[in-house]
């Protein structure tokens, strides 16, 4: 019976219009430049080099988180604990800094804590077959709780040299930007040139087919979470360093900013589609919009509305341009 039914989908498919494909590849870049032009016209300060540098620096942490979310979303998973794990990792790193005075120990702690939480997420998901949504939500609460207990609710100050990780410069370029670029390039390399990267795309595209191709999917999923956790931990250290203190409450909601950046940048919630440069552009688009709205002194309520519309728009375009999948 199905033979004749599926026959209707045959023939002529190779000549499908590629405009959807083109948008996915280049659409975001067009939007990116459109926003730059519009913003420059709206406000003369927008194109000031210092302002542009600010934008990138302010969003470096989000961009790093967005790299983490990108590899997760592409593989069909998600991480709702990133914000709280970021806070936990950052605060613990600050604590280590205050107690030992060693920047490298602090960095190591932050990254390791992030990786551990990530790996735990992966473990819950693969060993107990929990949905990523649920597992990371639970982790979020646990991480938040530990952070509150550890810091007693107040900031950890006196981190001295650690602040250079977030406020230092390499020549004319702020260090956080360098770190961000490094992570972006690393993520790009992994996703494009390693078999691990191919598996990330494949699992998100069709997990069953990937299993049937002999890939050890569970082990790969744990690795994905571990890697994203390491990024989150690093982001935590950078953020606290920039703020010059370990703030237990700054993580709230950051994962959603990261997810927004990824989705605006073309990562699809269906999995299997997305790339880190798009995510970077997405993060910058969101950052530029925040910036121009502040420069124009648009009141906060309107800023929220505009950002909400932006996310909705990005998701709608995402659905419209996704390719055929029965």
């Amino acid at each position: 019976m199905s033979a004749t039914v599926t026959a209707e989908k045959e023939a002529g498919r190779d000549r499908r219009t590629d405009w959807k494909l083109l948008y996915r590849k280049y659409g975001i870049v067009l939007i990116f430049f459109a926003i730059i032009i519009i913003s420059a016209l709206l406000n003369s300060n927008f194109l000031e080099p210092q302002n542009l540098m600010n934008i990138v620096r302010q969003n470096a942490v989000i961009a790093i988180l967005a790299c983490a979310q990108t590899i997760l979303i592409v593989s069909g998973m998600i991480d709702l604990s990133a914000g709280f794990v970021l806070a936990l990792a950052g605060c613990l790193a600050c604590g280590v800094m205050v107690n030992t005075g060693s920047v490298s120990a602090a960095l190591f702690t932050g990254i390791a804590v992030g990786g551990l939480c990530g790996w735990l997420n992966g473990f819950l998901i693969t060993r107990f077959s929990l949905q990523p949504f649920i597992a990371t939500l639970a982790m979020a609460n646990v991480a938040n709780g530990i952070t509150q207990v550890y810091t007693g609710g107040s900031a950890i100050s006196g981190i001295k040299e650690l602040k250079y990780v977030g406020q230092g410069m390499v020549g004319p370029i702020p260090l956080p930007i360098i770190i961000m670029l490094f992570i972006v390039l690393l993520t790009w390399f992994i996703m494009k040139h390693t078999k691990f990267g191919l598996y990330i795309y494949a699992i998100g595209g069709n997990e069953k087919a990937t299993i049937a191709s002999g890939v050890h999917v569970n082990r790969t999923k744990r690795l994905i979470f571990l890697l994203s956790g390491l990024f989150v931990g690093l982001a935590g250290v950078v953020l606290m360093a920039r703020l010059n203190s370990g703030q237990p409450s700054v993580g709230v909601g950051k994962e959603f900013d990261a997810i927004t950046a990824a989705v605006v940048g073309g990562t699809s919630f269906n999995g299997g589609i997305g790339n880190v440069f798009g995510t970077l552009v997405g993060a910058l688009i969101v950052g530029m919009i925040n910036n121009i709205l502040n420069l124009m002194n648009v009141s906060t309520q309107y800023q929220l509305i505009i950002k909400g519309l932006l996310i909705a728009g990005a998701v709608i375009i995402d659905i419209r341009t996704k390719s055929a999948k029965s």
Binding site: S2, T4, K9, E10, D14, T194, K195, A202, K208
Partner: protein, 505 residues
Amino acid sequence: MRTRESRDILLAMEGITKSFSGVKVLDGVSLQLKKGSVHALVGENGAGKSTLMKILTGMYDDYQGTITLEGKPIRFPDERAALNAGISIVAQELTPIPDLTIAENIFIGREPTTRFKGIISRKKLYEQTRELINKLGLAYDPHTKMRELSVAETQMVEIIKAISRDSRLIVMDEPTSALTEAETHYLFGQIEQLRDQGIAIVFISHKFDEIFRICDEVTVLRDGKFIGSQPIGELDQDKIVTMMVGRQISDIYPPLLPPGDPVVFEANGLTRAGEFKDVSFRIRKGEIVGVSGIMGAGRTEVARAIFGLDRLDAGEIKLAGEKLKIRTPRDAIRKGIAMVSEDRKQLGLVLVRSIKDNIALPNMDRFARGWVIKRGKLREEAKQISAKLSVKASSLDIEAGNLSGGNQQKVVLAKWLVRSLKLLILDEPTRGIDVGAKTEIYRLIRDLASEGLPILMISSELPEVIGMSHRVLVMAEGRIQGELPREQATQENIMQLIVAAAKEH
């Protein structure tokens, strides 16, 4: 001129022709349905039965030909129109809404309302449902939730639903596929009642004993063409089989080379509870063993178990004399076993990724050094294998989902053929593929066999199995019912074996 005969005819379909993207799926098909009769619609998979029924029930409205209802020509623009005209279908896949009650399911979308439109009158809803149930001599409580019903009862509710629409014609598609003997008996009682009430019923089934038990007339389709329509009294099973089959085995099937001598693959006593039992067979070097049977016979399940997607409860597998312990597809692939699944979109391909990515996926041991992918090598070999298989695509970076069915299947084959295989399992290798691409794939399979690869080919298309196998295994009800060497593998013989098994149940 209206004869007494023609006054009895409720609905007539004449010269129905339909194509999908240039492929003719129905070619001048006719069907005449009398009031108060049970009319069997028979044909192999792909003969056009479901397409014809979809036209009848309003799902397709672009076709050539005419439909007349009570003598008046009519065309249904959509399913609602057909329903309103009194034509319902009880589909093969039952889809009740489990948490709503019987009454709610029956009247969904047309609930009786109170004085105020928009408010459902629960009183009327349950009263009317009770009436309908009683009319059929049943005793269901209309307040029962659908999830509490057995399959047979669910089916009955679907039938009640069809009747409640004052249907004059009810299409039943494989209605007994999920029923036990007792439930079938009960269902037939109801069908007889409906017939006595003057309702016309179209009965689609593969089971000959049922056809002979309950049907008055039989229409046979083959390859989208109308072959014949006769009262049941004038037919017997052999005659029907001949009408269903009888295709010229033309040269779409390339000549096979004789297989080698040594037995390469052995399966002994394979069993998986509820799916198949005691399956044993051997495949020699370069031999193509076809596995025939109707859907649900357990063939795909056997393939999945050999490939490691499912666990075997009992039995052993030997490849080149070595006993294999296969728990996951990884194990199977490592030993040189590959499977082209029956549903390439589910198990075969990652549709959103490129052809190249798909070819690479199971072959990272070839294409990656450590973690890093050797892009050059991948590109080269992907190009080579795609050319060898004549994959028609402008570039290997196109998404697999954008390819035609035939080309998709070739990509699935390509990803396995990059490896050196010891056994290839094909499950419905040409499903959903047009004739031209089919021939190519047959040639490929033949070439692989002639190079010495043992092949297990599962197929529901009799001509394909017969044309392409050195030997044919016939499976039904989870067991191997028989084995036929090439000379004896005729369509009649195979059908006999299948039918014989069904009879025993």
